[in-house]
């Protein structure tokens, strides 16, 4: 049987199909303005026998096709556990939200914390900051080898205010690598505050598109003093978890 999981996120829709012998296929497309059509396209290209939806837009499919849904919190925990069996903590930074999930040894969600109502410190935030600094989002994490950030700090996590701070730092003549590094450390500061509330244990998996950012990974590693596990497709884990549900 082919089991499908679709994760309708704020920026991308991710689709996973897993076969009985655990062969995983993964595809994704930008969410855009018409997520249902994007879903149809992805699903149509690789039909599954059973489909479970997750992510911010999960109810779109539930309402239309009576597709079963689970939250992205449960889904990403399930997906992370599948790939990394010793995982007990998931840090997930997606397009517009950030969550830290604590799990029991058997994989059940024990506690979770999410960012507040705005997109502060998420992928979208990084996109805007990358633009302000003149970087491509994919190269932002590789360009934060500036000086120690103790001299400057980005205090605001609001994308609008932080952008103003960034511009004023640029105009003070601060190197963009240094500003970039400071931006990353402000995100890490915020995520680790969430993590403290769920009590981190055993292996930490970093999921969501932002896990591609090597600077964030390194900073988490320094903070938690342990390896941070990242899948080749870190944004696939919630869709995988949905497929396995």
């Amino acid at each position: 049987m082919k089991r499908g999981g679709i994760d309708i996120g704020s920026r991308f829709i991710k689709y996973v199909v897993i076969t009985d012998d655990k062969d995983i296929s993964f595809s994704k497309a930008e969410t855009g303005h018409d997520p249902l059509s994007v879903c149809e396209q992805l699903i149509g290209d690789n039909k599954a026998d059973k489909l479970v939806a997750t992510g911010y837009g999960r109810h779109l499919l539930e309402v239309r096709d009576n597709v079963q849904t689970i939250t992205e919190i449960k889904a990403v925990a399930r997906g992370a556990k599948e790939i990394f069996p010793r995982c007990r903590t998931v840090i997930d930074i997606g397009g517009q939200d950030t969550k830290v999930i604590g799990m029991e040894r058997d994989g059940r969600v024990r506690a979770f914390e999410c960012n507040d109502r705005c997109a502060a410190g998420t992928g979208r935030f990084l996109e805007i900051m990358a633009k302000a600094l003149g970087y491509d989002i994919n190269s932002l994490g590789a360009n934060c080898n500036g000086d120690d950030v103790s001299a400057i700090s980005i205090n605001s996590m609001c994308a609008v205010f932080a952008e103003s701070e960034v511009i004023s730092l640029i105009n003070r003549g601060i190197k963009r690598e240094t500003i970039s590094r400071s931006l990353h450390s402000s995100i890490v500061y915020r995520v680790t505050a969430l993590a403290r509330r769920v009590e981190v244990s055993e292996d930490i998996v970093f999921a969501g598109g932002c896990a591609r950012n090597q600077c964030l990974v390194n900073m988490f590693q320094d903070h938690f003093q342990r390896d941070i596990l990242v899948h080749d497709h870190p944004d696939m884990l919630a869709a995988l978890g949905a497929a396995l549900h």
Binding site: I70, T71, E72, I73, K74, D97, R108, V109, C114, R117
Partner: protein, 426 residues
């Protein structure tokens, strides 16, 4: 609504156009949230009717009461002793504070970062939308938080009829003395504005009326402890919200009728949901009508709310008043004692609240607790951390929510609540 009340609203000085708009929104919300529920008890018909006439027939009743020389006393808090109001033939009414209205106008008087409840009652007044405020002869405030305390100063200037009771912040002997003096002063104020003397017999009768209301609400609460739950959390919340502005004797009879029906459901082992549905208890800030946001999300996600540990809820009816007194003086002291048992977060320390939460969760067989605080409701936000610790020690799943009356965080709240329900699902 059964008839045209425009003349009455006009006389009260309401903003008729804006008021029509508000009623239209409320009617739609009520249809969507309440009337669409399945398996509602027949006994809810009365409460549906009350809501449909909340700014109509009930206001007409108040105006008739005024013509019969009864005074209308508006309140915002369960610390205001209804017994004393009834003892001078007054009518005790909770004032509008549960909808996001007139925030642009309220923000010219109070900071933007004020809790939604305070902003709401200011907004209702400033935009001319609350017929209760306009009908009231006296509005009683209290010092249960800094926001309300200071807002009442402005509210007094706007309405010219605010009276503030000082609620102490601790529960020692001299706090009790202060509170007894406050209750006595309030009794005098009521006697003064009504030109009526509180008589022992009348006070005893008033105590009986309010105790009977509490008993009916306690009965409703106990019934929710059954699995399957015989009534939705939304409906039970509505009954609790209505307890603040309906006639107490009529209300009590209707709640008891509803409970008779629920008793039968329990005997038949039927409910509004199937047995085993995840059961959620809510603890924290009050939900003034028409604030149904959290219940609607939880029950929309196929769980059932079985308790509100809140002022609109258990805190309002947990303790009966000891009616064993032989003089008005003694009765007033008993009133003061009863009201100082309330485990409001304004007290320090307030450990009895933690014990009460655990006892309630057990009695009502809650699978998890959602702590609900209005944004900027500092005292409940502060206590939520203590509640989290005590739930952890007792192995009860816990989720903290901070929100307001707006709909902009619905998506995130839904995800968090659904994830919490997945966590506690049996």
């Amino acid at each position: 609504m059964s008839k045209d009340y425009k003349g009455m609203w006009n006389d009260l000085g309401l903003n008729i156009d804006a008021h029509d708009g508000l009623l239209a929104v409320l009617t739609d919300a009520y249809k969507g949230i309440y009337l669409s529920q399945k398996g509602r008890p027949k006994g809810m018909d009365y409460f549906d009717f009350v809501i449909s006439e909340v700014h109509g027939l009930r206001i007409e009743e108040l105006i008739n009461a005024k013509e019969g020389h009864r005074k209308i006393i508006g309140t915002f808090c369960i610390f205001v002793p209804e017994e004393l109001i009834l003892a001078v033939d007054g009518v005790c009414i909770g004032l509008c504070s549960g909808a996001e209205v007139g925030s642009d106008q309220s923000e010219t008087h109070i900071p933007r970062n004020t809790c939604a409840l305070i902003k709401s009652f200011m907004g209702f007044k400033l935009s001319g939308l609350c017929p209760y405020v306009e009908s009231a002869d006296l509005i009683v405030g209290e010092t249960t938080c800094d926001g309300k305390k200071k807002a009442y100063e402005t509210f007094a200037a706007l309405t010219g009829k605010v009276y503030v009771m000082e609620v102490p912040n601790k529960k020692s002997d001299h706090d009790m003395e202060l509170w007894q003096a406050e209750v006595r002063k309030f009794a005098n104020k009521l006697q003064e504005i009504t030109s009526k003397k509180i008589e022992l017999e009348k006070l005893k009768e008033a105590v009986k009326i309010v105790n009977n209301k509490r008993l009916a609400l306690q009965r409703l609460s106990r019934l929710r402890g059954n699995d399957p739950a015989p009534i939705s959390g939304l409906d039970a919340l509505l009954v609790n919200q209505i307890s603040f502005f309906d006639d107490p004797v009529r209300f009590t009879a209707k709640v008891n009728e509803l409970c008779d029906e629920l008793d039968q459901r329990v005997r038949d082992n039927t409910g509004v949901v199937v047995a085993g549905t995840p059961r959620v208890m809510i603890a924290g800030s009050p939900m003034a009508i028409p604030n149904w946001k959290l219940h609607a999300i939880i029950e929309g996600a196929n769980a059932v709310v079985v308790a509100e540990e809140a002022c609109v809820g258990e805190r309002n009816y947990r303790t009966l008043l000891d009616d064993n007194f032989t003089s008005v003086e003694e009765g007033i002291d008993k009133i003061a004692q009863r009201y100082l048992t309330i485990d409001c977060a304004c007290f320090t320390p307030n450990n009895e609240r933690l014990d009460n939460i655990i006892a309630m969760a057990r009695a009502l067989k809650a699978d998890g607790i959602i702590h609900y605080a209005l944004l900027f409701c500092t005292i409940y936000m502060m206590e939520s951390y203590k509640v989290q610790n005590v739930t952890k020690a007792n192995d009860i799943p816990f989720l903290r929510i901070e929100t307001d009356y707006s709909m902009e965080d619905m998506g995130q709240l839904k995800t968090r609540i659904e994830a919490f329900l997945e966590m506690i699902g049996r």
